[in-house]
């Protein structure tokens, strides 16, 4: 497409991009790419684009031969169609195993998470307490909390990843996003006892407890180890990412 963006194309582009934003914002598609809190902003932006595009089209159709001296049509505007084309072509899902292998694993920092309080203040309907993968990693490397995690059976859900294909270790992984998938950080827990046969990006729920001895043997930028008691396959959740609680 070497041609400049003409006025008529411009309004087409606005409406098309606006429609993509509206569709993404009004369906669960947004959860693959953005934090759910962005929903109203995205819908508003999409609506603005569609309205500006539609008014522009009406104005164009009534235009007399007085146009602007400063009008400089450029080609770069065509690139705005790229998101629409990429979405139509690939309809890409949420980030998964590949992204985990590209990112440094989550490191325990000053993030506040109190496992005892989490168990006390939440109801788990008779099942083992469920934790975020990030929370498991935090507690596993916290000297004060690791004993509780060793003695308590907890549930995690995430996707399978093998990230070093040179070893036969299997991990459960999850990504956490702040604004969008472009800022995702990853957390992984090594699974011991089950799951070896599963392939990357299979969603599972595991129940188990921290294997403290094995975890103490790894550096704190590696993954803690879970002794798995139960593992079941689950469908990919509508919200594929974890967020700060």
């Amino acid at each position: 497409m070497g041609a400049a963006v003409k006025d008529g194309d411009r309004t087409d582009i606005l409406i098309t991009v606006g429609a993509l934003a509206l569709f993404t914002g009004l369906t669960d598609l947004i959860l693959r790419y953005l934090r759910p809190g962005m929903r109203p902003l995205l819908v508003l932006a999409g609506a603005c684009l569609v309205v500006i595009g539609a008014i522009g089209a009406v104005l164009d159709s009534r235009k007399d031969d007085h146009t602007h001296a400063d009008h400089r049509p450029s080609r770069v505007g065509w690139l705005l169609l790229a998101p629409v084309v990429v979405w139509l072509l690939f309809s890409p899902g949420a980030l998964g195993s590949y992204a985990v292998s590209q990112r440094p694993p989550f490191q325990v920092t000053d993030v506040d998470f109190d496992l005892a309080e989490h168990i006390r203040t939440h109801s788990f309907q008779g099942q083992a307490p469920d934790l975020q993968v990030f929370e498991f990693v935090t507690a596993a490397f916290d000297k004060k909390q690791r004993h509780l995690l060793e003695t308590t059976t907890v549930r995690l859900s995430g996707f399978i990843t093998h990230f070093n294909h040179d070893s036969d270790r299997v991990y459960i992984g999850r990504l956490r996003i702040g604004c969008c998938a472009g800022d995702a950080i990853s957390a992984t827990v090594e699974l011991q006892g089950k799951g070896e046969e599963l392939s990357d990006d299979t969603w599972v729920e595991v129940a188990g407890n921290l294997d403290r001895k094995a975890t103490q043997a790894v550096a704190d930028w590696e993954s803690p180890v879970m002794h798995v008691q139960r593992l079941r396959r689950i469908p990919p959740p509508a919200e594929p990412y974890e967020y700060t609680r």
């Binding site: 235009k63 009008h71 998101p83 590209q102 920092t109 956490r176 472009g182 800022d183």
Partner: protein, 328 residues
Amino acid sequence: VRSDTETSTTANTKKVTARSGGVWIAVLIAVTGSTYINRYVGSAVVENWSTIFLSLTLQALPFLVLGVVVSAAISSLVPPTVLARIVPKRPVLAIPAAGIAGALLPGCVCSSVPVAGRLISRGVPQAAALTFLLAAPAINPVVIVATAVAFPNRPELVVARFVASLATAIVVGTIWSRFASPEWLQSRLRTHAEKSHGHAFVEVAASDFVQAGGFLVLGAMLVATMQTVIPQGILQRVGGHGIVSVLTLALLAVVLSICSEADAFVAAGLTQFSMVSRLTFLVVGPMVDLKLIALQVGAFGRRFTLRFAPLTFATCILVSLLVGWVLL
């Protein structure tokens, strides 16, 4: 030159208002292609790239629309004389004032570029508008709160980020006002013809959105490529301290182009690195990154960006080192 353009535009009126139908061709090709492509190209790399590319674009879209709408409103609704009257004439006052205005208004890179461009075309001194452009995404209240949440036991880092970012914006503005030639900046934003306010608003908003949006998409493509091909995990082992770690994280901030509301969480995870290098990451990110460079080329031209981005990058590093040395 002007009369030349006018003649040719009038002659081409029919052509300018027409559509080439490129949008429908692209959509048609994509829809047809999609039935084949998923069968043959199911690669994790392609999917990872597409997800990051779409995420970055969709995330930036609302802020770009906001910037373009505010910019179009200034252009079509605010009389030219008003801005000239409220902005202080002397750079000594105008530059810090612009920095503080940036600190108070929650903005994003994607909104502040079109707004700063419009302020310049309305007679605000370049240096003051550029100080605003740097400060708005870096130190607004949302960013400060996010940094405090990501580093709950490190209040001094939050202070250091605020101080270093504001100082960088003011230093760059001051250097620019002393040494820059005004012709370096060639505004590519649209100025409107004398029409009714409503017409002008729609014209300017549509035109600026397509221009700035094209460059934003270009930036998002570059960032998605970098994020997909660079194995960031190896960084954990490079790590370390000293100037090498500062430069590593400064460059990482440029290529990752993480939005300023979320970068503190990524920095919190880079525990192998010294606090000063993480401060540099947080100062550089909102002021120089691939997405922002693309937007600046789109709004102000290549000659401008080739000078402004390296100046800002170097200033960010020097100021971060200094502030980090004092505060961290």
